[in-house]
């Protein structure tokens, strides 16, 4: 455990020295925050509250990108080889990545919540405990997604391609950009298999409906199981050396980590009420979002 803390502390320090971090972890999320709040929600407090789910989700989800890129870059540059000479395990390296990532992103999430209250006068942040729990679980689970990407890609180029595809899917099919309710029914069906969809809607429910941890137990449980599964698989597939070959079934194992959401997606498509929840969320209260929906 000591090794994890030591590694996480130095990684936080090094990341803070990186200008790219400032852009991706502060400027970009803040740009999303102001875009969603001022343009999409037109600064109307109740609508800003609704948009906070997608805004926080985007902040949380984006973490997988930097995390996977750092691990692959360290592997390519032979940095991981040097760490391997020390009595460290793959678990130490991965857990420290998650921990450092967590510590670096949490302040941005809190800043977004604070600005929602102060700048846009959002009357309530709903069930703050649920918001925090979902944010924490989201940061860890999307961090674990980064670990999975790093474990199955060999070069930075390959990592960036996979990251772009994933980011595109998370951005447009999860309800983070266009509410689930707006999407065509077939796309909604696909979205119900995406972890991001549950994070976005979970956060929206926590903020708008003040949903409790118990109300959000399915979202929380599936995100936690996904994180645990992804961490375990990533630690098994972890490669210290740039020339180390990927095991034959590695990509299948990586895909298998989505199992909790495969089950949840099938169930939601057949019996679930998430589509209705999204619709109710968008159609509730006379506000900017509702006007947009009507136009749509």
């Amino acid at each position: 455990m000591k090794n994890i803390w030591t590694l996480a502390a130095i990684r936080i320090r090094m990341t803070l020295r990186n200008k790219a971090f400032l852009f991706f972890s502060l400027i970009m999320p803040m740009s999303f925050f102001f875009l969603y709040s001022s343009v999409f929600a037109r600064g109307i407090p109740a609508d800003v509250a609704k948009r906070m789910g997608p805004v926080i989700s985007l902040t949380v989800m984006g973490t997988f990108w930097g995390l996977s890129a750092t691990i692959v870059m360290w592997r390519e540059q032979g940095i991981l080889r040097r760490f391997r000479l020390a009595p460290l395990s793959a678990g130490d390296m991965l857990a420290s990545s998650i921990l450092a990532n967590f510590a670096l992103i949490v302040p941005t999430v809190f800043l977004e919540l604070l600005l929602a209250r102060v700048v846009y006068h959002v009357p309530t942040l709903g069930n703050l405990l649920s918001v925090c729990a979902l944010s924490i679980v989201g940061i860890v689970s999307f961090g674990a997604l980064g670990l999975i990407v790093a474990s199955v890609t060999n070069t930075m180029q390959e990592t960036q391609v996979i990251n772009q595809i994933l980011w595109f899917a998370l951005l447009f099919f999860s309800g983070a950009t266009f509410p689930l309710y707006w999407l065509p029914r077939a796309v909604q069906g696909v979205a119900l298999f995406l972890p991001a969809t549950y994070l976005v809607l979970g956060l929206q429910r926590a903020m708008v409906d003040a949903s409790t941890l118990w109300d959000l137990r399915i979202e929380l449980t599936s995100l936690v199981s996904w994180a645990v599964l992804a961490f375990f698989v990533a630690s098994q597939l972890f490669r210290w050396e740039p020339e180390a070959k990927l095991p034959r079934n590695a990509k299948l194992w990586a895909l298998a980590t989505i199992f909790p959401f495969l089950i949840l997606g099938i169930w939601e498509n057949k019996y679930g009420t998430l589509r209705q929840t999204s619709a109710a969320m968008e159609l509730s209260k006379p506000a900017a979002a509702q006007q947009s929906t009507t136009q749509h």
């Binding site: 590694l7 540059q77 040097r82 020390a86 009595p87």
Partner: protein, 306 residues
């Protein structure tokens, strides 16, 4: 040997179809500097990295400080220090942070400030890794290898790619460690390095140890004969060169002729007369004291740098 700190027996390592290490055996005693000398791709790094617990072996037996690196990699890592080829540190890591970070991973550790002072990095303690020169990076790598006060040190090509002045600095550091009776395993393809630093040397080629002993013992193998290397205008028969006065061996290496002769002067006179008689011309001539390179040429027919 009574109690070797390192023991390698019939080590075999394969990468797919390629057998990189083919039955390597040697042992190293406490306080000894042991060199693995050979060209690139000879299997030196694979051998060392198996001892460090970084690679698995296909067959054979390896013992480091009485521990098996395959079964107890972390215990072995606590007892060893190493510098690697093709390694790096994060750009935004400061020199003193690197030393302290790595010291923090071990049960036993040395004072980081003392190491910075010893390796002449005090002034650079606040510098980022990417601001260091090649020599400073290598000194930092050596300092980091000592953070856990290891019993055994592994230096894999410690001076490769460094300029001569920096190379001499690294030699001085290794010589100091040698005086402190540290057990050191060094891989190199520099003859000078092996001769200057190593108590014993194993010459490795194509994954096999082809000769082993002290540098002096190895040089005696080639009769302690002086090497005369000549380039000629036209090819000459090896048989004729071997028949020259005092020449004990003659070989063609890289379109040059390497003659070994205990007394070079009469052999050179004999060579010049022979060339004149045959209408051939001498383009260049170099005389060198016997070195491990001669042993390598004698055993493989190739130069070490090939």
């Amino acid at each position: 040997m009574a109690n070797p700190v390192l023991q390698v027996e019939n080590l075999v390592k394969r990468y797919g179809e390629v057998e990189a290490v083919r039955g390597v055996s040697f042992s190293v005693e406490k306080g000894e500097v042991f060199g693995l000398l050979g060209p690139n791709g000879a299997g030196k790094t694979s051998t060392v990295e198996i001892m460090e617990g970084l690679r698995t072996l296909d067959s054979g037996r390896v013992s480091v400080c009485g521990l098996d690196p395959q079964r107890n990699p972390n215990e072995v890592k606590n007892e060893i220090g190493a510098t690697l080829q093709a390694t790096s540190l994060p750009d935004k890591l400061r020199v003193n942070e690197a030393i302290r970070l790595f010291a923090g991973f071990y049960k036993r550790r040395r004072n980081p400030d003392e190491l910075l002072k010893r390796f002449g990095l005090e002034e650079k303690r606040g510098a980022f890794y990417n601001q260091l020169s090649g020599g400073q990076k290598q000194r930092l790598a050596l300092a980091m290898a000592l953070v856990n006060d290891p019993q055994v040190l592994f230096f894999d090509e410690p001076t490769a790619g460094l300029d001569p002045q920096v190379r001499r600095e690294i030699y001085a550091i290794i010589e100091e460690l040698k005086r402190e009776k540290k057990t050191i395993v060094l891989t190199t393809h520099y003859i000078e390095e092996a001769e200057r630093l190593c108590d014993r040397v194993a010459i490795v080629d194509h994954g096999k140890v082809i000769a082993q002993g002290t540098p002096r013992e190895l040089k005696q193998r080639s009769g302690d004969a002086t090497r005369v290397e000549v380039r000629l205008a036209r090819p000459e028969s090896i048989g004729a060169l071997k028949n020259l006065d005092g020449v004990v061996d003659a070989r063609e290496v890289d379109s040059a002729y390497v003659l070994h002769c205990p007394r070079p002067a009469p052999s050179i006179v004999s060579l010049v007369k022979h060339l004149e008689a045959g209408g051939n011309e001498l383009i260049s001539l170099e005389i060198a004291a016997p070195s491990l390179e001669d042993v390598f040429i004698e055993l493989t027919g190739r130069r070490l740098r090939d």
